[in-house]
Point group: C2
Chain length 255, copies 2
């Protein structure tokens, strides 16, 4: 299993490479198209981690876990239901989640699996999706809960979930995750709040990539956030949220 | 009034410049940051027009005209209501609108004014927005109507409006439009279907840029589509839609 990370060095340069213990083997070129090792090795402790990719869009699913659908008494959907979080919402590991200016309402965490696209995907048949998935990362799909239903005529998904720093990704992209065996574990200030199996997903990663690629072209580095399950809740200013998936690592962000 | 266009030359090169009659004065560098004239002039008829900018996101308003709100019997909103059309939905003048694979339902046109951001905008006070607006363009906010309410629990704004080629922009960016005096006129196969005054907007361009910039960072080239008014409707395969705003020009796309 290879784990790719992006980082900023102490000279301000952005780099990327593979993680081995506490060392990074640096690469150059295009992460998604023939990246080459530079031969340079750096200590993880000497760099500032960045989001492992820079998506042009984050396609964020709603109602994609059977347990949450049952709790909400919603039917499981016939097609993936999603909104778009813009590129400007991106945040990396350890980056602060910023409360939007003038917003004093509730802010919620949602721990999720993220699919990282490796190859341009348009109208991809289900059997061909493995070639389009580069790997998997952790997502915190942060949400300004009180924005969502502020207007009685229009649910404000994009605004509530699209604020700067509300699309937390990382810490790494894992290329060989056995997602069927993995769980998403979310802790707030150390206390476990979510612990759900990815095998409960309505649409699998392969189905999501195929179906969404029929709705819009997915580009290398784009992320599909697979939706969350039971246990989402609010966080206070100063709280730290940790989303962990074994094989990927722990994504930690403080509000 | 300056009108900026982007185009592809017969050698496949992408260029941009200002329009004067049927001639283009070519520029080089960054359209939004110190573009310089090259001294080269080209005939408009010798190039293929492209969308005049390449937004990282299109922020598309809903319910932003009083006449349409009254007709739909909806209250005028207290804050701009929007969804996000991804960069992958972009289409330029004369480009074909493509019916999504496997979708046989209705496709609607929506003629709109587009605000083109010229300078990074984050938490911009209303009085400072003029410095952040580069100019204005025409938008056809194409919509797969039957996708929108396919699921009873989730209105699929981003999917219905986010398909490839559903974000038509052009033909030019006009830097000095008197939007208060302008009208949006939409013709389908030559027959007028919309003709509404921009002065009927709920949130003005300055208010939109300020308010949306408090929700998310707007980047140079990003577009705010100001929403539509009365007269939207469906188009048949093979129909041609023309969105015209005097001072900008006519954006023509065929389904």
């Amino acid at each position: 299993m290879t784990q790719w990370i992006r980082y900023r060095t102490d000279t301000g340069r952005t780099g990327f490479g593979t993680l081995g213990g506490d060392r990074i083997d640096e690469y150059e070129g295009d992460l998604f198209d023939g990246a080459r090792p530079t031969g340079v090795t750096t200590a993880l402790s000497d760099v500032v981690p960045l989001a492992p990719c820079t998506p042009s869009k984050i396609v964020a699913l709603w109602n994609n876990f059977r347990a949450l659908a049952a709790k909400l008494e919603k039917q499981v959907p016939a097609h993936p239901l999603f909104l778009i979080k813009p590129a400007s919402s991106l945040a990396g590991p350890d980056q602060r989640i910023e409360r939007p200016a003038g917003y004093g309402g509730r802010i919620a965490f949602e721990g999720e699996l993220g699919i990282v696209i490796g190859k341009r995907a348009r109208n991809v048949p289900p059997a061909e999706t493995p070639g389009h998935i580069f790997g998997y990362t952790c997502v915190n799909d942060v949400t300004a809960v009180d924005v969502m239903n502020e207007d009685p005529n229009f649910t404000q998904w994009c605004r509530a979930k699209g604020h700067d720093t509300f699309g937390c990704l990382g810490p790494a992209i894992s290329t060989d995750l056995d997602w069927r065996a993995a769980r998403v574990v979310t802790r707030v200030d150390g206390a476990e709040r979510q612990n759900y199996p990815l095998s409960d997903m309505v649409f699998s990663p392969a189905e999501l990539v195929s179906l969404v690629s029929h709705d819009m072209t997915l580009l290398p580095g784009d992320v599909i956030a697979c939706g969350t399950s039971l246990g989402v809740g609010s966080i206070r200013d100063g709280s730290t949220v940790e989303i962990s998936i074994a094989g990927i690592g722990s994504l930690v962000n403080r509000l």
